[in-house]
Homo-oligomer: 217 residues x 2
């Protein structure tokens, strides 16, 4: 991008104050949903903290349900994109353990670096309307399939234990990887260290193992 | 208890309808907090669903903050009690792996069998007042210490990996064990199977391991 100031969407009308973009409104909504809970956040508060009139929200969204669905989508998109990027960056002949480790680190990266959306996802999912969940379902299912396929490949490659069904392993794994967004404190160690520790814990378990790879593989 | 009907607290006044006990009110509050979110649940709703007048709540609690602190306490008490009971039931010479497995299963048991309180704990913790969290702090810290001591014993016994600090292992472990309350469906398999699978996943990891114990140790 050749310009040092952000390029605005041409569809957004000019004004004395630059109007909040769709993305800015979603980020504000995600933060408020996380901080106050879903039911306790109003369209008026979202508008106010986005620096726009309440009615201007409708320029971008047809209501709180739609904002909720978009926040859920952004949360899953954050982890989906990060996992895809990490996998795509691997050499073509990367072994299955490296691929699985890259996916684990990708999920953690997406969780922590888009924390406003991923934390909001975890905290509001059960409180939004059925309509918002339905709107969000396809992107959520696609992410579930991504993990199920990867884990099945790891079973087929002899890397992953085969005595526990893949969907159960996936539920355990994704749950365990979601939790750090609640407690990770970058002042106590960088992301790379956290990712290496969590990856070691999920792949190899808490107990000692003869011949185990070190934390940094 | 020699009588077949529940013995009521003598301090509770007799009435045409048996008045809701403190425990019943807490269970109703926990369910409403979980279902609707903390901010969206009123004292009036808690009273109504407990079958009492709104003002009668104050017979047991001095406000919503106190109810919140008690619900948080009950959630942690559920897992604390279950872990202590499982550990106490072991033979005196049980090895460290057996002890750690018993503690893991105890936490899962407490989470799932007192799900109204444990799920409420997870969902409202960040939304209650600072005062409610402060009231709840000591019981929460005691549970953290219980795990840190157990995990340190496992490190000392050579069972647990020593390359990751115990508090980090504990945060990962408890987070991973909290998640099933969100997705466990008893119709897809009993508690014993779930506990064996989760215990295997946290202790031994997702990957295959030569000479690993079977799921049921």
């Amino acid at each position: 991008m050749p310009r040092s100031t952000p390029v605005r969407d041409a569809a957004v009308p000019a004004a004395a104050q630059p109007p909040a973009t769709r993305e800015q409104i979603l980020a504000v909504a995600a933060r408020l949903f996380s901080e106050r809970g879903y039911a306790n956040t109003t369209l008026r508060q979202i508008a106010q903290q986005s620096g726009i009139q309440a009615g201007s929200i409708y320029y971008h969204f047809d209501g709180k349900d739609t904002i909720a669905a978009c926040v859920l989508d952004e949360g899953i998109a954050a982890v989906t994109d990060a996992v895809h990027r990490r996998l795509a960056a691997l050499p073509a002949d990367a072994d299955m353990r490296t691929r699985l480790g890259a996916a684990v680190e990708g999920h953690l990266w997406g969780m922590l670096h888009r924390g406003e959306f991923t934390a909001a996802h975890i905290r509001i999912y059960r409180y939004v309307s059925d309509a918002a969940r339905a709107r969000h379902r396809s992107i959520r299912s696609a992410y579930t399939r991504l993990w199920d396929e990867l884990l099945q490949q790891a079973v087929d490659a002899g890397l992953l234990r085969s005595d526990i069904p893949v969907p159960m392993v996936r539920q355990f794994l994704v749950g365990a990887l979601n939790w750090p967004v609640d407690w990770y404190d970058p002042r106590r160690g960088g992301f790379e260290q956290l990712a290496a520790q969590i990856t070691a814990l999920v792949l190899d378990g808490l107990t000692t193992r003869p011949g185990r790879r070190g934390l940094v593989s």
